[in-house]
């Protein structure tokens, strides 16, 4: 008669979790106790201010700025990927089969259509 597998006990995990929580919380509690008895808290306008390398922070961090950079990033990607695939394509061009040729042409068409889209959108005109 095979022995029945023991019921999985979560007790070990609970004990471990409690130990981990205590490990983290005890130093914090000790520090708080120490502050209560000996070392008083001393907040101030400078100490509570945002750290900005010693300078006074000016304005809000939630400012908005124009993000046109994504267009350059996309176009860079087009040319970058194109170059990577065109070089081996050019080297192996003579020995390629019809299937490989057509699939690479489809790939090129997709990239070039992206370039056409960007051109029509006027991205390539420097402002």
């Amino acid at each position: 008669m095979p022995t029945p597998t023991a019921e999985p006990s979560y007790l070990t995990i609970i004990v471990l979790m409690a130990a981990a929580a205590l490990f983290a919380l005890t130093p914090l509690a000790l520090a708080r106790l120490w502050a209560m008895f000996y070392s008083p808290r001393k907040p101030g306008p400078d100490k509570n201010a945002t750290y900005e390398c010693g300078l006074e922070s000016k304005g809000d961090a939630w400012i908005q700025f124009k993000s046109e950079y994504y267009l350059y990033a996309i176009i860079f990607l087009i040319f970058d990927v194109e170059t990577i695939f065109l070089l081996p394509f050019a080297v192996a061009f003579a020995g390629l089969g019809a299937g490989a040729f057509i699939s690479l042409m489809i790939f090129l068409f997709l990239l070039v259509s992206g370039l056409v889209w960007a051109w029509k959108k006027g991205v390539l005109t420097w402002r």
């Binding site: 008083p40 101030g44 400078d46 010693g54 006074e56």
Partner: protein
């Protein structure tokens, strides 16, 4: 000067303490262990103002090895630093930033004024744009002369500071500033005024000895 850390005036009788130590029982006080911990983990703020900073960098490197004193962890934020090493010439343009950084450090905090410029203005004392010593605005614990001071001098300053920390009392009227609720933690940040910094010094910090002429 004998730079070994002096034994503290522990409440346990010194003879009894030695006797217990022979048996493998070590006794200490809360004050002693608190100071021992603090004096061996002084984390400096990572910034340098002028050529003294090069000597400070050399001190942290392998040849001089500041890590022996537990002080090699230079912190890039004042929130995590215990010690400000004012390493170099403090221009009047820079002084407000230095004082603000000091204000932003958490207590307990200490200051080492490193080099002739930081303690007095040094060779640029006559300059219109140089602060004549950072101790006009923030309380300096250790002054190091030299132009620039060698790494040994900075290490000497660290040991002096360690001695100072080990002698600090936890309670009582002589307790240090960070244990005293009434003592200030922030000091006035000077403004860059029309002719000079305003105010030109902080009288609660800077108390120069009166010059007596014969």
């Amino acid at each position: 000067m004998d730079l070994r850390v002096q034994p503290q005036n522990y409440f346990v009788d010194e003879g009894l303490k030695n006797e217990l130590q022979k048996q493998g029982v070590f006794t200490t006080t809360l004050e002693g262990i608190y100071n021992w911990g603090r004096q061996n983990s002084i984390w400096p703020l990572q910034f340098g103002l002028a050529c003294c900073a090069i000597e400070m960098i050399a001190t942290t490197m392998a040849r001089y090895d500041l890590a022996r004193f537990g002080a090699e962890v230079f912190r890039p934020s004042p929130r995590q630093a215990d010690l400000m090493i004012v390493a170099g010439t403090v221009t009047k343009k820079m002084a407000p930033q230095v004082v603000r950084l000091y204000n932003q450090m958490a207590e307990p905090k200490y200051v080492i004024a490193m080099g002739a410029c930081a303690i007095s203005g040094g060779p640029f004392k006559q300059g219109y744009n140089v602060l004549k010593g950072i101790d006009r605005y923030i309380p300096v614990d250790v002054h190091i002369p030299g132009c620039p001071p060698r790494p040994e001098a900075l290490i000497h300053a660290f040991m002096t500071l360690q001695q100072k920390i080990s002698a600090q009392e936890l309670t009582g009227v002589n307790r240090p500033r960070h244990l005293n609720a009434e003592a200030p933690s922030e000091f006035v940040v000077p403004k860059f005024g029309e002719h000079d910094l305003e105010p030109p010094s902080n009288p609660s910090v800077w108390k120069p000895a009166a010059l007596t002429r014969a």
